[in-house]
């Protein structure tokens, strides 16, 4: 049996939750004080996901960087793979909010999109 300790992010309470797992299956969730905590803990121990926000190099724009995000959540353990791909990408101005900067980043099926307008100069 495996035990995982988490801090719930559902609200400022920050309940300390302990999850018990057996072969990757959640057996029990303890320490939470509401249903939000239970749901958060189950997701977090089985398939934690994050949205990555960062910048990419852009050429020919009125700024040297364009801010970007993953269009959806990606597995937490893919964050640094995603960063590596984004960091080696050079976007071309102009870009608009929502333009795809990296397609299918780190094989996650999720695109990286621009989050700001960059005009061409």
């Amino acid at each position: 049996m495996e035990k995982r300790d988490l801090t719930c992010i559902g609200c400022p309470m920050g309940c300390q939750i302990t999850v018990e797992l057996e072969d990757g299956e959640v057996i029990s969730v303890k320490g939470n004080t509401c249903a939000i905590g239970d749901k958060y803990a189950r997701n977090e121990v089985t398939h934690p996901e994050r949205t990555v926000t960062t910048t990419a190099v852009i050429e020919g724009g009125d700024k040297p960087r364009v801010s970007v995000k993953t269009a959806g959540n990606i597995p937490k353990d893919k964050i640094f793979d995603a960063m590596k791909e984004i960091d080696s990408t050079i976007a071309k101005a102009p870009v608009h909010i929502g333009d795809v900067i990296v397609k299918d980043v780190a094989g996650t099926g999720v695109d990286v999109v621009a989050t700001r307008e960059i005009a061409a100069v």
Binding site: V57, R65, D87, S88
Partner: protein
């Protein structure tokens, strides 16, 4: 090239000497180990022009203090720098020490200080309502003043440079030898310099420089002083410089307005053996507060905008040493210049200038320029004046430092004038950009942009104050910088 005179150190003493020397038909050069003038003791002190009652009667300190004080009015006009005779008070807070005020008064009179007056408690409180209620009396010196030490130092150096004195920055003296040619050979990290005469104005390093040429060893003690600087918002807290009486309880700290409207509190006096030990400590800052609270009441400490420490070049004999070194002819020490060094600096410059004139039979130049225009300040200009300025140069329409309302025009002036600014601190000390309550949080990226554009400095090479004080390390994403 062989210089007639080489001055080591571009602090306030070295720059004062350089300006005086520039009157004469000589070749002169100032060697400075830092990247700018005013980088050592001159940049971190009380910014006071002392009246001259502290130093012992007959001492060089007393003489040059009083002379320097008297020269300051004309000098500030010639060099276009702020100077104000705000008057100073030495307050007595222990009844049994009241006699001490009389001692100071008598000494001041003997030193030639004009207008001294001993005040009663009531008179003192009327003059300065935020004095502590424990005040028993005070010595008032109407000739006491305040000056901007950066501007004084920078202006004297600029004026010297305008008049032909060379300045070599980032040039640290490593060794000095008298050659067979009878000239001084100065080895630096930046090549060799040769001169007939050397003036050692190296501040806390003056002993090290002196000891390169003399068997009569000198030892300078670095005496650290911690300070607190308060926001202009509380600039009216005191209008005079408030000293504490030197007593058996210790030396005390001062509380003073600055010429730019802040309030300065300090210093401590902590003896070190570290020429670069200008770090503040919690104990030091605590001592400043505790002592200041003895002479004033309700010091608005929540308005502290920065703290800093400076090192005074203290000699055990506590006297200025301005003389030709006995076993090293043609080598002149300007050493042990601690308080009242800033006040005395114009007189120190004059004294050394006169020594060199006699010694080297120097002839005055006919085209010497005595005046220098400061950076055009936009403070207090009317709308019409501002618009005339902006029309001439649109850069005056862009505010770079929001706290001190410093325009891009002023920063460009600071960069492009003689001995112009090359770092954030260089810009700050010349224009005050970054010296306000946000302490450069807002303007530093903007000032960096201007330094990058105007000097072609890549961002990675822009420093806070030269050396390894780079602001940023590299571009993100491993991208190669294009300056």
């Amino acid at each position: 090239m062989i210089y007639d005179i080489i001055i080591i150190g571009a602090g306030v003493s070295g720059s004062a000497v350089a300006r005086e020397v520039s009157r004469y038909d000589v070749s002169a050069c100032v060697l400075e180990k830092c990247e700018d003038v005013c980088e050592g003791t001159s940049k971190a002190n009380s910014a006071i022009v002392h009246a001259g009652f502290d130093a012992d009667e007959g001492s060089l300190m007393a003489k040059l203090n009083v002379e320097g004080n008297e020269m300051m009015d004309q000098l500030s006009k010639d060099l276009d720098i702020p100077f104000k005779r705000n008057g100073s008070l030495v307050v007595c807070i222990h009844k049994e020490e009241l006699d001490g005020l009389k001692t100071l008064y008598d000494r001041g009179v003997k030193n030639g200080v004009k207008g001294l007056k001993i005040l009663t408690k009531e008179e003192a409180l009327e003059m300065e309502p935020n004095l502590s209620d424990d005040v028993e009396g005070a010595l008032f010196a109407p000739t006491g003043g305040i000056v901007c030490p950066f501007e004084l130092n920078i202006a004297m150096a600029e004026n010297a440079n305008m008049n032909g004195v060379d300045f070599r920055f980032n040039t640290e003296v490593e060794d000095i030898k008298k050659g067979e040619d009878g000239l001084w050979h100065i080895r630096t990290n930046n090549g060799e310099y040769v001169s007939r005469v050397v003036v050692n104005a190296a501040g806390v390093y003056a002993d090290r420089i002196h000891n390169m040429v003399s068997e009569d060893k000198m030892h300078i003690i670095e005496r650290r002083g911690d300070y607190l600087l308060l926001d202009k918002e509380v600039g009216g807290f005191v209008s005079h410089t408030v000293f504490q009486q030197p007593t058996k309880y210790g030396k005390g700290v001062l509380v003073t307005p600055t010429v730019h409207g802040n309030v300065l509190v300090g210093p401590t006096a902590i003896d070190l053996e570290d020429k670069e030990g200008n770090n503040t400590t919690a104990e030091g800052l605590g001592e400043v507060t505790a002592k200041a609270n003895e002479s004033v009441k309700n010091l608005p400490l929540r308005n502290v905008i920065t703290s800093f420490a400076g090192l005074r070049a203290h000699l055990e004999r506590h006297e200025f040493v301005i003389e030709e070194v006995k076993d090293a002819p043609d080598f002149i020490d300007v050493a042990g210049i601690e308080s009242p060094g800033l006040s005395a600096s114009p007189a120190i410059g004059k004294m050394v200038g006169d020594m060199l004139k006699d010694k080297m039979s120097l002839k005055e130049k006919s085209d010497w320029i005595a005046t220098r225009k400061g950076i055009k300040s936009t403070e207090g200009l009317s709308i019409e004046e501002m618009n005339a300025l902006i029309k001439e140069n649109p850069a005056y329409g862009t505010i770079v430092c929001r706290c001190e309302s410093i325009t891009e025009g002023e920063i460009l002036d600071a960069i492009h004038r003689p001995l112009g600014a090359r770092s954030l601190d260089g810009v700050k000390r010349r224009t005050r950009a970054g010296m306000g309550r946000c302490q450069a949080g807002f303007c530093s990226p903007r000032t960096m942009e201007i330094l990058n554009r105007e000097l072609g400095l890549p961002y990675e090479k822009i420093t806070k104050s030269g050396g390894k004080s780079n602001i940023i390390l590299e571009r993100t994403k491993g991208e190669v910088s294009h300056s």
